[in-house]
Structure formats: C-alpha cells, structure tokens
Amino acid sequence: MALEVKLDAFEGPLDLLLHLIEKNKVDIYDIPIAEITRQYMEYIKAMETEDMNVMSEFLVMAATLLDIKCKMLLPAEVNEEGEEEDPRAELVEKLIEYKMCKYMSMELKDMRFDADKHMYKNPTIPKEVLEYKAPVNYDELLSDANLEALSRIFEEVLKRAEDKIDPIRSKFGEIKKENVDLEKKQEVVFGYLRSHKHCSFRNLLSEQRSKMDTIVTFLILLELIKISAVVVKQESENDDIDIECVNIDDNLGMLLES
C-alpha cells in the first residue's frame, strides 16, 4: 500500500471512519469496535510504518465511537425542550457536514480548472500619471490653524524645551566610555601570537574592528618588541610586517604584571 493513499484517502479520523464504514456497508449490519480496530491494525501493518498521525487519528475516532456507545447504554438525556436527545444526532450532523465539505471541494476543484484559462495583466500605469502630484489645497491643509494658534504652539514648544533641561544634571561633565579594553586586547593578541608563533601583522589586524583597535594592537606589538618577545621584519615601506615570536610565554607574564 502506497503512502500517498494514506495522505489523500485517510486524511482525518472522520475520513478514516467514512472509509472503513463504507467498506462494511454492503452486508455487515453490526460492526464491533473490536472489528474496526482489527482492520485498522491490518491497515497499519500493510503500511509497514507506524505513523503516529494515523494512529492518533484512529484513537480520536475510536474514542468518539465509544463515547456514543456509552451514551446509548445510559438512559436518554433530555434537552431543554424536554425532548430525548439522540446521541447519534451529533455524529450524523458532523458526517453530513463533512460529506458536504467533501462534495463542495470537488466542485471547487472543477471550477478552478476552467477559471485558470483566463489571464490577467500587470499594472502599466503611464509615467505621466505616476508622476502627477496633486496641488496642495491650503484651505484644507491649514483649516484649523491661525496665527494665534501658531504662536500658542510656539510658546508650548519653548516651555517644553525649558522643562526638558535638568538644572542639576545638565551641569555635569560628560563621561565617555573607554572603547578598547587594554587588558582584554592584550590577551587576545597574546593568544593569537601563541597559537601562530610566526604570523603577519596584517593577518593579526584582520581580527580587529575599529581604528582604535588597530592602534592599540600596534602599540601592544611595539611593547612586545621592546621586551624582546617578538622579532619583526619588514622588507620595504608599506609592506606587511613579519612577526616571529621569541620565548613569548616567559615574557608575556612579565608584561601582564607590569
């Protein structure tokens, strides 16, 4: 049994219910739930996969059927109008609705086939029309404005501007955040040098983001040269700087402490 069959024919529990019922319609008058279960298990086996969706759909269906069976065993419920409620009514109602929905969906499918033969057109609005700008209607635009209102608005704006100034805090100087954390930067550069031993300055810089980062990295390198932790070489002006690490580990500890 192909998987597609399951997708199309066994979409939902009601569908599954319908299908199984239709199969038994001809001569079997009473179908025990046990029998439906058995058939269902066969179906599952035939699919060779235990699809959780199909299984849970079946559980919903079986529970619905059991619920109705239980209601049938109990004394009939009486509704507000004093009529006995048929527990099957709800299921019948649902089945009718579902059957109608199935039928209508088939009708829609046919209609779509015919409608697809028409073609529509994308907008082609002439440039002259697109570029047209409506003249401003000043009477409408400024209908509720006059000079008095304008001067009142201006006073309000000024007043608000005054209110915004915090008389105390506005006198404080500005404190700027330091953008580059020197210690962290050192560790990053050291880490890079430790893992590379021999590297180019440009590669080292490729990990830096801002101008400040670049400058600090260069200063760290100068410091390293000073304490003889690295040896640098540059063939000619504007060339890349070749960095070679010399007993870097011993020296770095010193630098970090200082």
Binding site: I28, D30, A34, E57, L95, M104, L108, D116, Y120
Partner: protein, 191 residues
C-alpha cells in the same frame, strides 16, 4: 461626458491598473453615479463578447477587472509565460470549501468539520491569497476569523460568493440518509 467617451475611459482605467478597480472608484473618476457605471459596464461586456475582441470584463463583488477570454488560452500559452499553476491538495480544497461556505470561520471551526488540525493548510491558503484574516471573533481568546479573498473569486471564476455552487436539497437529503445509516451500523452494541 458622452457614453462612448465613458467606455473609452473605463477601458483605459481598467487596462492601465490591471488589477481590479472598484465600481465606486470609477464612478468618482467619471463623475457619474455607480448605477451609470454598472450600465456602461453592461454595454461594454456585450461589446467585448464579440469575436474580434480578446479581452473581457469580469465582475468581482464590487469591483471589475479586465482579463483575456479563455478562447485564446491556447494561443497565449505559445507567447507568454503562463504563471505556474499552484496545485492544491485535496485537503486544501476541503479547507477552502469550508472557509468559502461557512465564512467567517475560525481555525477551530475548520478543525471541527474536518476532525484534524488544519492550521498548516490554513496558513498555506493565506500565503496563496485565497483566504485572508477578516478580523477577530468576540469570544474567549479573540480567535482570528478567515474568509475568502478576491483572488479566490478570480481563481474559481465567480463574480461573487453567491455564485458558488449550492447544494441541492436532494443532495443534502441523500447525505443525511447515508450518514444516519453509517452511524446506525456503528452503534450496534457488541463490544
């Protein structure tokens, strides 16, 4: 404005805009009543029906739009790239028919009829502009309600929802009999 000029203007508008245009918008542009516009469009539809015309006016609720006649489909596919037809699964058609016939509906309403969660399909239909959100229900959780779109009307070739096929009474009666039988069969007690 004389009648002929009105026809010309309406054709110019519908052609340039390409999309559907509300009758009311046309009435405002022509400075005539909506009834007059409808009358003009009737005349034009008769004119367009002639063999030497390749286009026709289609009515979509309160709007109109130009489209090609289906007679020329075969010639057209030789020239233009036919927009790829979005195929819908059978379950998508089911959800669509529920929304079309029972709108406005919530996700829950659809699920109740089909018996399975249909959120995924609903989302897909919204994506295809066949259905759209139509507001929220004044009920617990304020669930979104869905309805069909103008694109739905276009795709299924109907001018309004009223033109959707109706179920005949015979059909409904038949379904009822079937459903009752099926339920009966299942309720014979012998677990």
């Amino acid at each position: 404005m004389d009648k002929k000029e009105a026809y010309g203007t309406i054709e110019a508008i519908l052609f340039a805009v390409g999309n559907s245009v509300e009758i009311e918008t046309i009435a405002t542009a022509l400075d005539v009543s909506k009834e007059e516009v409808l009358e003009y469009i009737d005349d034009m539809q008769t004119e367009y029906a002639k063999k030497n015309r390749g286009i026709q006016i289609v009515r979509l609720e309160n709007s109109v739009q130009l489209r090609t006649k289906d007679d020329y489909y075969d010639a057209l596919i030789k020239v233009t790239n036919v927009p790829k037809k979005q195929t819908l699964s059978d379950s998508a058609y089911e959800v669509l028919s529920i929304v079309a016939y029972k709108q406005p509906v919530t996700r829950m309403d659809v699920e109740k009829v089909r018996g399975v969660n249909s959120d995924h399909i609903i989302n897909r239909l919204v994506e295809l502009s066949l259905i759209e959100e139509k507001g929220r229900l004044n009920a617990p959780g304020k669930p979104i309600v869905f309805g069909t779109t103008e694109q739905f009307l276009r795709s299924f070739g109907v001018a309004s929802l009223e033109e959707l096929p109706e179920m005949s009474n015979d059909m409904i009666e038949e379904f009822k009999v079937e459903a009752e039988k099926e339920v009966e069969v299942n309720l014979k007690m012998d677990v």
